[in-house]
Symmetry: C2
Subunit: 136 residues, 2 copies
Amino acid sequence: MGTALSVIERFSRFQSDDAQSAEPVCCPVRDVLDRIGDKWSVLVIMTLATRPQRFSELRRAIRDISKRMLTQTLRDLERDGLITRHVYATKPPSVEYRLAPLGQSLLEPMASLVDWADRRYSDIHAARVRFDESPL
Amino acid sequence: MGTALSVIERFSRFQSDDAQSAEPVCCPVRDVLDRIGDKWSVLVIMTLATRPQRFSELRRAIRDISKRMLTQTLRDLERDGLITRHVYATKPPSVEYRLAPLGQSLLEPMASLVDWADRRYSDIHAARVRFDESPL
DNA sequence: GAGGACAGGTCTCAATTAGAGACCTGCTTC
DNA sequence: GAAGCAGGTCTCTAATTGAGACCTGTCCTC
């Protein structure tokens, strides 16, 4: 609790410093969060958490991702050092993606978020229904 | 560690069940993650973590958010029960946003993610540079 | 009492981004 | 020799975003 606030306060200070300056916004945390906070990254990382997988295994696991977005998400994650890409010179060459140590280290905090989402989902859903039904 | 994997495995099972069915993807965790995983939600929640704030205070704190997106983000967060909106009938009516208990409960897991981002930023940045410089 | 400022938005339009799906290369199978 | 899979790329369209004009109402200043 106290820990959470101290982390967030540190971040806030960064952000308000930024609010002063005329420069474009530049904050490491935002930079990273923008990257892993997109629609597919978290899903891909969690899918790779159990075991390394090939391109088409990932596509089957995450049914509604398009090839285009899967390719792009994998490239971005590789670029950030969260996953690694291994090409095997088999008959039709196969490509395997696996979590790099950096990606592994993300599992812990990510799991706490997933756990939160899981436990609070019913509250959130109830709030939505209430909001949508409310007068006006 | 073990905890992280068990949470993620539970989620994965959900996802692979889903992979079997012909139905459109439907998973509580994804539902929630899509919502808070957008560009602005995390920023707004963290800004409100320190104290309740008014619309224009938020705009000043998050300099590069447009009015349109701030309004929309706040509505969505309110709808999900993460924040509450209070209108005061002052001379020019003022509107204050504050974290609801549900939003408070998100601070802890979110902070662990922010902390990760903060501590790993240099690794990620180094990986990017390496990737961008690499042959081809 | 006209002009400007601020609060909290909404609306419109242009630019960016995402998704569907056709297409490509190389190799195997019927 | 038609068809299928792997791992992508390319193109076209649809949805999302951001910039910024505009709106209503209440101050304050001159």
